[in-house]
Symmetry: C2
Subunit: 198 residues, 2 copies
């Protein structure tokens, strides 16, 4: 597992307080690794004790104090170590799939609102990603190796864009599947109607 590493990478991108990180995990990195603030504070404390990060308290006038964390040299080398270490792909855990298989023994029609809900959510996320794409990555060419050196900023951006593109692909796949499945369920409702009355 590695909320630890998700936080380290986040802190490398920008030193932050726990609160800021928690908000960042509702967007951005959080699209690919979710965490609550309680968890974040605990892991930050553990990592500070381990010496991977160091927190500096900033007294706020007219605002609460905040602990600004940044990654130490040890933390950086931990990230490098982790990058080189192989990781297995996470298994899928999708209750919708289980429900679909369960629908054969219950009311498949009951899944229609559920699927519509999922379709809407995935459509929303896709739109959000598209907005980010247009805003932040308008000028990044896809995969072409690039003839002249494009600098270190474009390097980081290219990687971030690639992450975003996985999100886009993912949401689009879901969206198409939801459409298809809704079509199927509407068809099945005709074919095998549930007993109409009690």
């Amino acid at each position: 597992m590695s909320l630890d590493h998700a936080l380290l990478v986040s802190l490398l991108e920008k030193p932050s307080s726990g609160y800021e990180l928690a908000r960042r995990f509702d967007r951005s990195i959080g699209y690919f690794w979710h965490a609550t603030h309680q968890q974040i504070y605990k892991v930050l404390a553990r990592m500070e004790e381990a010496g991977w990060i160091s927190g500096e308290v900033q007294a706020g006038e007219a605002a609460p104090d905040r602990k600004l964390y940044s990654v130490s040299r040890t933390g950086r080398s931990e990230v490098s170590r982790w990058l080189a270490e192989p990781t297995e792909p996470e298994g899928i855990r999708d209750s919708l799939m289980v429900k679909l298989r369960g629908a054969a023994f219950g009311d498949a029609g009951a899944l229609i609102p559920e699927l519509e809900h999922h379709r809407a959510l995935h459509a929303n996320r896709l739109t959000a990603y598209r907005v980010i794409e247009a805003r932040d990555f308008a000028g990044v060419r896809s995969t072409s190796p690039g003839v002249q050196s494009t600098g270190t900023l474009d390097y980081q951006r290219a990687l971030q864009y690639q992450v975003l593109k996985s999100g886009i692909r993912y949401e689009q796949g879901w969206l198409e599947w939801c459409e298809e499945t809704l079509g199927l369920l509407h068809g099945l409702k005709q074919v095998k109607p549930r007993r109409p009355s009690k």
Copy 2:
């Protein structure tokens, strides 16, 4: 959460022992909801106590005894209740994405073997799914509502096929993304080589 429900659905499809379920969770349902045997035994015990399932010990001659579980009436109604209850889509947790973003602060080249590994795994799974598709769902037409009634078996099969198709879509998406990302990383290695010596 719902390993409970995944097990119930599995048992509805076929009454089984814990051991059998554990093996089934390495294929089939397990592609969409993973679980170890330890966990399965614990949940089965809990569900039996709750009265959702009942286990019947079968004495084996020349084989160990096994407890064959089947879903009770209460269990069935629990499934129906759960089917109608809305569920949020599970959040993604993908360390590869975090790693890609982290690669901007480390050695992006170190991710190449990792990505090749992922590509191979997703390619394997995709092939496995395609085999199942060809074997079990050769004659199922995609989404067309079907003019004449096709019976209750085709009903269940259509749902199972739809689940499989989500798996196919998922693996294919990953595969394409891995290819694309490998192309990008090979390009970047040229553009921004890491310091060659210590």
